[in-house]
């Protein structure tokens, strides 16, 4: 075997140009896959982080009517019981209570429909909600007659910090109610729909506006790092037996986002297949060329007593060595580029309007998904080794005397 490995290694350096082309194909293919997955994983991580920290948290407990995230004006009738259940679960890091309603916000010159979020920064901090404030200040306990709105909404309404806006909504009993509120700050999430259609007020303000006493619309729950969200949700469902109360993960709340991630992973699978076929075709071409050129040599080796199995070993070894070198280079380049761009970020400002609704942001920071990285290396290895068996088999079937008659 040592002699065959020595021959395999030297054969690779025999036709340097061809081996180099194959090496480049393997390493470029692998590094492209690594970078692509890192880019996708980074974007997905940012998207999930932004969604969970801006909108949904890890999971929510909502009345059945709010199963659809776009619904409003529904309230939990068993909030005290749920509060106790949450308190007892040590896997839950925090829960923020929110009131959700629909309304109309108006300035002196303009008015627009809005999504009303009633809550407190103190509770939002418990679930590590993102503070997206860009102007003014956040709402404190004393701000029962104040509001913050999306920056774009402020521009549409034509108001400035300190100005009065009027918020109206339908209260618990079906009557119209309104509040004059002072604008103390604006936020910017990057999502046009949110920035142009949301007003945030204190919980007490919302409860007063909607005449719901101490009622709330939902609990947004954050589980501790490393805890399986699905498991926590399953357990909460066992404890919360009221059929009108739902415990939902963020994927269930925004299924479109979860589907988008699945679609991206599916697309990646197709790209992986294409790259694998291209790389494997490169290896196959190199080996076939190399074997055609060396038919006499294989005939000689077989005449000297090399068995068909040893010929297969020799050819597959050449593929193995080439793939290994290519994999080392490709892995190094792919990981290095991903780490570098993971720090620098990739500026996608020109595309921001296209995917602002996905809450990715203007810069994507590639992130290494080690499980996929190892998988790519293994898959490239296996496919290249498998593909090399065909030329190896062809070589092993040569009849020495016929092979040696070939003009070399």
């Amino acid at each position: 075997m040592t002699a065959l490995l020595k021959i395999a290694l030297r054969n690779i350096f025999r036709n340097k140009k061809r081996s180099l082309i194959t090496l480049v194909a393997v390493s470029f293919g692998l590094s492209a896959l690594i970078f692509l997955r890192s880019f996708m994983y980074g974007a997905q991580t940012q998207m999930i982080d932004n969604i969970t920290r801006t909108l949904t948290s890890d999971a929510q407990i909502v009345p059945k009517a709010l199963e659809n995230i776009y619904n409003t004006n529904a309230y939990l009738e068993n909030a005290d019981e749920i509060r106790e259940i949450i308190k007892k679960d040590p896997r839950i890091e925090g829960a923020a209570e929110r009131v959700i309603a629909a309304g109309i916000v108006a300035s002196a010159t303009s008015s627009m429909p809005t999504y009303i979020v009633g809550g407190t920064r103190e509770m939002e901090d418990l679930i590590k909600s993102k503070n997206t404030l860009v102007e003014g200040r956040d709402l404190g306990p004393e701000d029962e007659h104040s509001a913050i709105i999306g920056k774009k909404m402020r521009e549409v309404l034509g108001v400035n910090l300190g100005d009065k806006i009027v918020l109206t909504s339908q209260d618990y009993y079906g009557s119209m109610s309104g509040e004059a509120l002072k604008l103390v700050g604006t936020f910017e999430t990057g999502n046009d729909q949110i920035d142009n259609g949301t007003i945030v007020i204190r919980m007490a303000t919302a409860q007063r506006l909607l005449s719901i006493d101490q009622k709330i619309s939902k609990f947004a729950i954050k589980v501790r790092d490393g805890v399986d969200v699905d498991k926590v949700v399953r357990d909460l469902r066992l404890h919360i037996t009221d059929p009108n109360t739902k415990v939902l993960t963020w994927e269930e709340l925004i299924p479109m986002m979860a589907q988008l991630i699945q679609f991206q992973n599916g697309t990646l699978f197709v790209v992986v297949m294409i790259v694998l076929v291209v790389v494997a075709a490169g290896i196959l071409n190199t080996l076939m060329m190399s074997i055609i050129e060396r038919i006499r040599e294989f005939g000689l080796m077989m005449a000297l007593g090399t068995t068909p199995g040893q010929v297969i070993f020799l050819v597959v070894s050449e593929s193995f060595i080439l793939t290994m070198l290519g994999a080392v280079i490709g892995f190094g380049v792919g990981i290095s580029v991903s780490i570098y761009l993971g720090h620098q970020g990739i500026d996608l400002t020109s595309f921001v309007s296209t995917f602002s609704n996905f809450l990715i942001g203007s810069h994507v920071y590639p992130k290494i998904d080690w499980a996929y990285m190892v998988l790519f290396v293994v898959v490239v290895f296996i496919s290249n080794i498998l593909v090399s068996f065909y030329p190896a088999w062809r070589a092993s079937k040569l009849v020495p005397v016929d092979a040696m008659r070939q003009v070399g």
């Binding site: 021959i7 030297r10 054969n11 025999r14 006499r296 000297l304 007593g305 068995t307 040696m404």
Partner: protein, 159 residues
């Protein structure tokens, strides 16, 4: 039947083993493995036989010395003359101590002086190792050295 074995009954693997252990080959066009040095070419069939490292070393060195290539052991085929390559091929053919060596026009690509030296080497090895040499040749000098000559014309044995 060749060297006591029925070749028609053998599988490809058995044929490989038979060639490895019983037969040595010397070709008209030398046919050395180009990526191996002279010494490695001689060692190649021994490695296939899984001969110990020490014996491998001893046998390849001894044979290369015997064919007069002591100073060319680490040269690759492209760095050697035709005569030198043919002598490496002879050393390789002898390495496994085969019972028979088949030599196809062994002197055809050599100048007359080198050809004579090669035939002399065959005769010497025949005496030393009792190896049978079966040669195909058009060279009268080679034919004159043979203990038995079978003439072929258009594929038929001439009586």
């Amino acid at each position: 039947m060749v060297v006591g074995s029925d070749l028609a009954e053998m599988s490809p693997v058995e044929l490989s083993k038979f060639r490895l252990n019983k037969i040595g080959f010397v070709f008209q066009a030398y046919n050395l493995i180009p990526v191996l040095t002279a010494k490695e070419n001689v060692e190649y069939p021994l490695l296939l036989q899984k001969v110990s490292k020490k014996e491998l070393e001893n046998r390849s060195t001894e044979l290369l010395e015997k064919v007069g290539l002591k100073d060319h052991m680490n040269k690759r085929p492209t760095q050697m003359s035709g005569g030198q390559q043919q002598r490496v091929a002879v050393a390789r053919a002898l390495a496994t101590k085969p019972e028979m060596i088949l030599a196809d026009e062994p002197t055809a690509n050599l100048d007359s002086q080198t050809g004579e030296l090669l035939i002399e080497l065959f005769r010497q090895l025949n005496e030393d190792y009792k190896t049978t040499f079966v040669m195909a040749s058009h060279d009268p000098e080679v034919i004159s050295q043979a203990k038995r000559v079978v003439r072929l014309k258009d594929g038929r044995v001439m009586l």
